[in-house]
């Protein structure tokens, strides 16, 4: 009997279906066709020539994108990490997962003295590490992403080829994307929301405008206008910046729609952007997702944006939501809060915490208990009202509060601390104010988040119960 072809042996992206379309526009205005992109991808992956694990150190540049697309098309499994990840955390990830290769910006290559450069193109270098297929890779495994990208836990989400394909097709369908789209990058390539924009656009033969520039830079807006960008995505913080930039007064004729995900937007801002869209004949689409569900689980259709502001909408095509109560029973009455459960082909395989986990198969079987608390209204639109676990979303990144506490305690002796707060603003309680500046600098360095994300609060004693557990409720008065 002939062995069936494995999923990773067929190509994810059919780049040659769109040969002459422009796939990418780089920061210096260079246009790359799908045919050229395909050639760059093949030339990179031919150097590797086998299925193995690779770390792709990302920026919104062509070299990172060629790595990502090329690796997936060649059945090579990339771990997507930000290029400016703290070097200690990166080393910890390398030691844990022992990748065969690193694909990174060439100027970073010399930092890795124990690796050998085997290929160089487009300002990126492929380095061979000392490892050779250290761990077995499950046949379904396509891609590995961090859950938070911050507090240093090398915990990764295992995504399959089927996950990526299913989620990409759903998003293409509900956003109604075609080859005339041109998205400009506003999110990192190692971030699931950023990746989903890349996936959907390359799926339909559309164009991506790659930029490392941010909303607060003149060059970003010049690129957006010059190349007639039709869309971009943003986390809640992006929309706060846009409001401050007097976005509502800008004239952006090429722009068709903007999407929002990566945390709950305040209902006030949701309403303002919904009104802007209505007035300017654009679309504003709020979505909800998690890396554990590849990227997206819900969207609020643009025509409902104003009527249902504050809602994260309905399940994406092919997906299904339900709510469960504390006993695990399904909630059927509107306006009743329960834990949100999602089912769909985009529910990922599970986590990896060590190299041996890479051979694991599907542990979730299409069902994800999200950890988010939600309710639905009488029309079936869902609203996020809180979360079960102790983490914050800071500038779109999940930051685990218990891990943050452990990080601080393990790096500073004789210090007691508690981390809590609101999205985009972590409050760090310290009992010794002489550490304030050092802890702030340490957290900024380790998480890579701007120092504006942290507020240090002096406190005489961390309130605890008899069992020694921190009473977080008692700390709420300081930041609520």
């Amino acid at each position: 009997m002939r062995k069936a072809k494995k999923y990773w042996q067929s190509m994810m992206w059919k780049l040659n279906n769109f040969k002459n379309n422009t796939a990418l526009i780089t920061e210096n205005g260079q246009k790359i066709t799908y045919e050229e992109l395909d050639k760059h991808c093949r030339s990179l992956t031919d150097t590797i020539g086998k299925r193995c694990l690779v770390f792709n150190l990302c920026r919104n540049e062509i070299g990172s994108l060629v790595g990502y697309i090329g690796f997936l098309n060649a059945g090579i499994v990339p771990v997507m990490l930000k290029a400016d990840l703290d070097s200690e955390l990166l080393q910890e990830c390398i030691d844990t997962y022992k990748p065969d290769y690193l694909n990174l910006p060439s100027e970073m290559a010399e930092e890795f003295t124990d690796c050998k450069e085997v290929y160089k193109n487009l300002g990126y270098s492929l380095l061979k590490t000392q490892y050779d297929s250290a761990f077995e890779l499950n046949d379904e495994l396509a891609l590995l992403l961090t859950t938070s990208g911050s507090t240093g836990s090398p915990k990764l989400v295992r995504q399959s080829y089927k996950n990526i394909e299913a989620n990409t097709k759903s998003i293409v369908e509900y956003l109604n994307l075609d080859e005339t789209e041109r998205a400009i990058t506003t999110l990192p390539m190692n971030y699931t929301y950023g990746i989903s924009i890349i996936n959907t656009h390359l799926w339909v033969g559309a164009c991506l405008i790659l930029t490392e520039k941010g909303l607060m830079q003149k060059d970003f807006w010049q690129q957006l206008k010059e190349h007639n960008a039709t869309s971009f995505g943003g986390v809640p913080y992006t929309y706060e910046m846009l409001e401050r930039l007097r976005f509502f007064r800008m004239d952006l004729p090429s722009l068709r729609y903007v999407t929002q995900a990566g945390g709950k937007l305040s209902p006030d801002l949701h309403e303002k952007f919904a009104k802007w869209a209505l007035e300017k004949n654009k679309k504003f689409i709020v979505m909800y997702g998690q890396t554990e569900a590849t990227a997206r689980m819900s969207y609020l259709p643009a025509e409902k944006s104003l009527e249902k502001y504050g809602s994260m909408g309905i399940a994406i095509p092919g997906g299904k939501f339900s709510l469960i109560d504390v006993n695990g029973l399904e909630i059927t009455t509107p306006e009743t809060v329960g834990e949100l459960v999602y089912e769909g082909d985009n529910v990922t395989l599970g986590y990896a915490q060590c190299g041996e986990d890479l051979k694991k198969g599907d542990e979730r079987c299409g069902k994800l208990v999200t950890g988010d608390m939600a309710k639905f209204d009488k029309d079936g639109f869902f609203y996020i009202v809180g979360r079960k676990k102790r983490f914050l979303k800071i500038f779109g990144n999940r930051v685990n509060l218990d891990e943050s506490e452990r990080l601080i305690k393990s790096n500073f002796d004789n210090i007691d601390c508690a981390c809590c707060g609101k999205d985009d603003s972590m409050c760090i309680f310290l009992t010794d104010s002489s550490y304030n500046e050092r802890v702030l600098n340490f957290m900024t360095l380790k998480t890579g988040l701007n120092r504006a994300a942290f507020r240090i609060q002096d406190i005489d004693e961390i309130p605890k119960n008899e069992a020694g557990k921190t009473l977080y409720k008692a700390l709420e008065q300081y930041y609520a």
């Binding site: 830079q217 706060e240 504006a452």
Partner: protein, 79 residues
């Protein structure tokens, strides 16, 4: 307090740096001055000098020096 002292203090408070480090600072010279830091900086400048800046000025304010020129447009002389 002179306007220069006030202006410098906005930078030192926002980014956690010294007066000396603030003087020749440009956007993205330090990690603290990224997009997020920039928004904080703009808010702090607007508050310190009681002004509302235009979009073009917000995205043009790419260095300590440039900020002084821009503030002049709002009748704030930094000296």
């Amino acid at each position: 307090m002179t306007t220069l002292e006030k202006y410098t203090q906005v930078f030192t408070d926002t980014f956690g740096i010294t007066d000396e480090e603030a003087k020749n600072l440009k956007f993205q010279d330090i990690k603290a001055w990224d997009s997020v830091g920039h928004m904080g900086l703009i808010s702090a400048i607007e508050e310190a000098f009681d002004i509302m800046m235009e979009t073009d000025d917000i995205i043009d304010l790419s260095s300590f020096e440039k900020g002084k020129e821009i503030l002049a447009k709002y009748d704030v002389e930094i000296k």
